[in-house]
């Protein structure tokens, strides 16, 4: 068993888990943060994307023990109380979701993308950067719109998540 500790959405957490426990399972099952989803077995869908020390990663492709000592932000950590994060607000405004299964990963990927492109985003870049996030419903069109709108709302400037 591994003794792990990390900061999740600003809160210090500790746990004792099997060494083979994936980060996504630690978040969902030990911490009850079920906003982070598991959509595949092959590290391809991106439903599980969280930020590890400020960078988007697939939480299904990392052991919880590998993340010990790190800062993790999940979809639950984005909103400020009742006020949605600008990316969340843009997904709602632009119908960037249908069933919503891919949405937490999409939003975490989008926040990371916007942070990495303080110069602003264009459609081609957004589509290329969404390579690691699959959606079975929307056809991506409104997701791209939402990300572009959010990037603009955020002033095309780097904004820190959470």
């Amino acid at each position: 068993m591994a003794e792990i500790s990390m900061t999740v959405n600003g809160r210090k957490v500790t746990g004792t888990v099997e060494d083979r426990t994936l980060l996504v399972h630690f978040l969902r099952e030990n911490l009850g943060l079920t906003g982070t989803h598991v959509g595949c077995d092959t590290s391809q869908c991106g439903a599980c994307v969280v930020h590890l020390d400020g960078k988007a990663v697939k939480s299904c492709t990392m052991l919880a023990a590998q993340a010990s000592g790190s800062e993790v932000t999940t979809i639950e950590g984005l909103a400020q109380g009742a006020e949605l994060h600008p990316v969340q607000a843009a997904f709602r405004e632009h119908h960037g979701l249908q069933c919503g299964f891919c949405t937490p990963g999409m939003i975490m990927a989008a926040v990371d993308m916007i942070n990495r492109h303080p110069e602003g985003l264009d459609e081609k870049t957004v589509r290329a950067e969404l390579e690691g996030n699959l959606c079975r419903c929307t056809g991506y069109h409104n997701i791209v719109k939402a990300v572009l709108a959010a990037a603009e709302a955020m002033g095309g400037k780097a904004v820190k998540a959470a």
């Binding site: 591994a2 099997e18 492709t61 990392m62 993308m113």
Partner: protein, 267 residues
């Protein structure tokens, strides 16, 4: 995933010691290949020795005519390194097109070449750049490093610490990505060196990455895409699978080589 025991190494020597003490241990760097493989139960190491926190494995150094990249440097770091973008932009381009942003944040150069997936991007660059692979034990020439599918010259307890290479006069990389995985269905890295041209092909060879002699010969006289008009590459020894036949890949090699040369020539 089968049970495993996790260890975090803070230095190369500690990592080697941890591996020696393990029954059937394996190094893990970015985990972007090894963790999915373990999830599928295609690998079941008794112990995992995490290299991600070893400072000596990280960083990119461009000094004069030589580039050295630590094995623990992530694809994202290689993609956006300003000094490297001047010395060898083709390598930044290559790293920027591996998988997706999340994979690039974790995956490392060392993990990629140690794994030697026949469709991985980095092996083509390392071979075409005539790079030297540095390990905790020795230096290995790229020509001797890649042995066969998923097989390298590395010993079990040997850690890739860095690669180094002389800045080429020109270099370019073009891949035809598998639309689902983004791995190379066929990728060609061309590099023009003071003493000749090297062209390495990934994604196509039955035994993994290899140098395409026909392409290299055609480019020696004139390093131009048009120099490859009429060049053919034999289909012998190329992979055939659900994605493409060996003949299709043979043709793709020439097409990708032309695009790589175009990129090397600045467009």
């Amino acid at each position: 995933m089968h049970q495993t025991t996790y260890h975090r190494a803070s230095s190369i020597s500690e990592a080697v010691k941890m591996l020696k003490e393990a029954e059937d241990g394996k190094f893990v760097a970015g985990g972007q290949t090894l963790i999915p493989t373990m999830k599928q139960r295609l690998a079941a190491p008794s112990d995992l020795i995490d290299l991600r926190h070893i400072g000596e494995l990280k960083g990119i150094e461009v000094a004069g005519n030589t580039v050295k990249i630590g094995a623990g440097t992530t694809h994202a770091e290689v993609a956006r390194d300003a000094a490297l973008a001047k010395a060898c932009p083709a390598l930044c381009h290559l790293a920027a097109h591996i998988g997706d942003p999340h994979v690039r944040h974790m995956g490392t150069l060392g993990g990629s070449i140690a794994n030697n997936d026949p469709a991985a991007d980095y092996p083509a660059a390392v071979l075409a750049l005539a790079a030297t692979v540095h390990t905790n034990k020795r230096e290995i020439a790229a020509d001797d490093f890649f042995v066969d599918l998923f097989e390298t010259a590395l010993e079990d307890d040997e850690i890739v610490t860095a690669i180094s290479f002389a800045v080429p006069e020109k270099a370019g990389y073009a891949k035809f990505p598998n639309p689902a995985s983004r791995y190379a269905l066929t990728g060609v890295f061309v590099a023009k060196h003071a003493d000749g041209v090297r062209a390495a092909v990934t994604g196509a060879g039955e035994n993994g990455v290899f140098r395409a002699e026909a392409i290299e010969k055609a480019l020696v006289g004139a390093f131009e895409a048009s120099a490859l008009d009429g060049t053919t590459v034999p289909a012998d020894g190329l992979m055939s699978d659900i994605h493409a036949s060996a003949e299709y890949r043979a043709n793709l090699i020439v097409v990708m080589a032309k695009r790589a040369v175009q990129a090397a020539n600045g467009g």
